[in-house]
Every structure is written in C-alpha cells, then in structure tokens.
Symmetry: C2
Subunit: 102 residues, 2 copies
Amino acid sequence: MDRFAALGDSTRRRIVGLLSEADRRSGDIAGHFDTSAPAISQHLKILRDAGMVKVERRGRERIYSLDPDGLAAMEDWVRETRRKWNGRLDRLAELLEEGDQT
Amino acid sequence: MDRFAALGDSTRRRIVGLLSEADRRSGDIAGHFDTSAPAISQHLKILRDAGMVKVERRGRERIYSLDPDGLAAMEDWVRETRRKWNGRLDRLAELLEEGDQT
DNA sequence: TATTTACTTAAGCATTGACTTAATTAATCG
DNA sequence: CGATTAATTAAGTCAATGCTTAAGTAAATA
C-alpha cells in the first residue's frame, strides 16, 4: 500500500495526527481508539510499510514517531499538482493581457 | 468516500494530475488509461463526490476540471500536520537553548 | 427519423481491506 | 522460574472496492 492509500483510511490519518504532536507507545495510540489493539497494530504496520511512521523498540514497548520524509513526499505531490494548476492560471492571465493590449 | 480515500487510488491520482494540466473530456481522460471507459467514469464519479473535480456538460461531452477547493482541503491537512510536527522541533530547540545557558 | 457518438448506470465477480478473537513473541517482575 | 505486561502475528469473516460487459440516456449527424 502506498503512502496515499495508507492515508486514505481515517484511523490511520488520526494516528499520523497523534504522532505529529508527540512520539507515542503502541498502547498509547490504541488507547485513543475504540478498536482493538491488534487492529491498531495492523494500521501501524501499514503506516510503517508506507514510510509514514518509524518505530523504535524500548524494552517491551515500541515507540512510534512520524517519519517526516513520508510527509514530505505527500507535500511534494500536492505542491506539484498545485503548481501545474497555478501555471495554467498564469498562462491564462498572460493571454488575457495580450488580448488587452494594455 | 472522502477526499483522502479518493486519492488513495493511483488511477484517480493520475486523473487529478491530468486535470491539473488542462480541462479534459471524459473520453480524453479514459484515453490515457488501459482500463475501460466505464471504469474511468466510475472513478470520475468518486472524484466528483469527493469534491476533487467538477463537470460541465457541453453537448454530449462532459468537460472535467480540477476543483481547487478539494486540493486546498488536502493542503490544509498536510500543512496542519507539518505545523504540529515543526512545533515540536521548535519546542525542543528552546529546551536545548535553556539547558545551554548561552 | 434512424444511427452513430459520448458517456453513464447497472449487474456481477474477484480482490482487497478492516475488523475480530486466539495464539505467539518477548521483556519485566514477584 | 512462572506470571504478567506490551505488543504483534495468525486465521477467519464481512463489507467495500475496482474491474468487466451489457444496457441505458442523450446529443449530434446522415
């Protein structure tokens, strides 16, 4: 599952939101949801595979943190899409000015 | 299906990419893919419902265009997530400076 | 007006995805 | 060591998703 598909799920988006505020233990994350711990663990695996979060083992706990590279990749896509869109508007404006003979 | 789920599919992301470059007829869009026209039509409906694209009827053609509001909503989520993440870094830097007694 | 063109909607099917409970792994504590 | 705690992996279920072909709608054209 790629980054976008991973964020297509609202639970996973909320997890990313939680991790943007602070690093958290797996159980801590699960505590924010009504679903079972295994379900959250599965979501975390998907986010890990998608490069959106990182884990660090600490004793029997696993500390999850946001992977800024994953977020940056998202930003890149959005920015590029926006850039192309804006470029069209700019070209349109140029055309209008030409016709205008200002 | 919400905006993020809609963009979770790579075909739909490519459609959005195409529309960021230019408005296009339904058939024109379908021509960029190997899948059938009905499949693309279904994707377009999902993007429409998610507020990512708009349609305008012109004779028997349908002209699709990117809905910039939909893109803006995406940008908002990404920006907010980034903002919180950066906020953490800033607070960390402050703590380091305090301890530093510079 | 009959036909073609552009596109969507319907129906059916295979796959994927999210959830559950049960079982497993691994670290800590009495 | 045996029990508890933290988390993951396994197995199974059910709904949702994406695709296909067939059928339907509506505008343009011969």
